[in-house]
Amino acid sequence: MRRRDLLGASLVAGLLAACSQAETGAPAADPPHPGVLRGQAEHVLAEVDAALARAFPARNPRLLGTRVVGPAARQLTARLNVAATRKQTLPTPGRMSLQRLGLPAAGGWPRWFLAAGTLPGEPTPVLRVLRSISPRDPYGLWGDLLLLPSASLPDLASPITGTPMIDPDDGRGLVRSPSAVLAGYAHALQAGSTGGGFAPDQFREQVAGQEAADRRTLGGPGIAEVSGVQRPSSDGLLALRTEDGGALVIGALEQLYRVTVRPGKGQVRLDADLAALAGVPRVGRRLQRTAVEVLAFHVPAAGRGAISLVAATKGDVSALGS
């Protein structure tokens, strides 16, 4: 009798439990996908355009908010501060006409994506690099590069399901690891050398030419000593697999540029922008100028030729003069 009661009670309890079970779905696992969808990327780019459109007319870097980060934030902050000091009117960058997106495969943070296109009135195509440092931080413009003459962006691998990212120190299958590419280019810039595994490019010629001109102007007559150091910045590094088995590597360098005026040799007058940034029109002892260079390289697969710079930008971010 007891057993029958127990069985009955169990049956009733089982039925009640079955009836009271919450209804849920059974979602399938995520298919391979990029970290951002096209719509998300377009939303981010519009937010960046809006932030630039707020900050430029007001010459107020605070209005860039969280939509400009990393090297781009430092460059634009300096540029807007200089414009404010000099009471210059800066043309507001127009809305970018998007031509290509580079969407890395979903993974952890920081996350990145690329957008290539043109700006109104600008003949040179731009490459915008955007980064989100954590899930609670929005994507911001990290780099705003110009494509170099005759350069083109390599096609990225798996553009639909998300391009695989390459670890900065992983040089397997490449002529050089991404971090070694950046360090190698810093060395080549500092040495003013050609070669070093890099194809000749206009950017390196310009930087080397500027430094050589300063040396001639200041160092030649013995007025001042000019020295410069190029080093990879701590802003991060992005490396994406390209369709040809190589990589698109994007990173930032810091250039520390020092002018030490020899005692008794007078003062060195600074150009207007540099004077506004340093807060002094001329220096009698020392000038330390820091610039940030954001660079994009096409790194071929091992044995497939030289590394080529495809896009770059450079801007002063600080200056100290006395």
Binding site: E23, T24, A26, P27, A29, D30, P31, P135, P138
Partner: protein, 269 residues
Amino acid sequence: MTALPRFRPASARLAALAVIVAGAALLLLALARITVWAPSGTTTVRVAGQPGAAVVDTTPEALALDGPSVHVDVQAPDPRRTVFVGVGRAADVDAYLGAAARTEITGVRGPDAVVTKVGTDASLPEPADVDVWALAVTGRGGARLDWPQAAGRWRLVAAVDGQTPPAQVIVTWQRDQSSSLAPALCAVGGLLLVLGLAGLRAGRGRRPSAAAGRMAADRSPAVVPGVGRASESPPPAPPTTPEWTSVPMDDEEPDETPAPAPFRQDWRS
């Protein structure tokens, strides 16, 4: 030896009738499920924001209830406040929410949401300011979003500013009608009905040889003369067949199932 054969045919016939009744009941139930008891095409639940839980969200399993789409209505605690509703990849939303205190919809039970309070952090960054959303809408006083179900695991978040919970979140799932039980009920009911009828007829076929001449008449009750209830179910019984005689039908092999003579006796008495 004598009691068992008399009992078993009646039992088999009773069982066949029970199967028929069950089949008919299932068919009627199926009919009801597609007419008067038809399930609603939508499931709607209402969840109020809880003090101390900054957002209302769903688990991937809750958002993925069968159906083509989900409609979400979020109401602000104050008509002047802007509210947010967004859907993102579950892993991304997990990372964004972190340990934030939230009212989480984990499923539905009838017209009610199954909710649980998760997390401890009182606030989190304003959801409209992060980029983990595949689809997001903001609106003053309220916001509406339609989410077409997509492959993968997705989560929904409704919020105000990451600190104040929304007043109410109404989630409406467009349900998949193809998941109705009616076809299954219909199929099982029909099968039972056929099996029951077949069992009944087979039972009738297990007739002693003495009655074999009337078997055909039994199969067509209308032609059985002198039996007033021939047209009713169950069909009229032949004269009593006191003992089972194992004479098979022409096209049937002997079966262990005895002819249902005792039943007929009972029925007639």
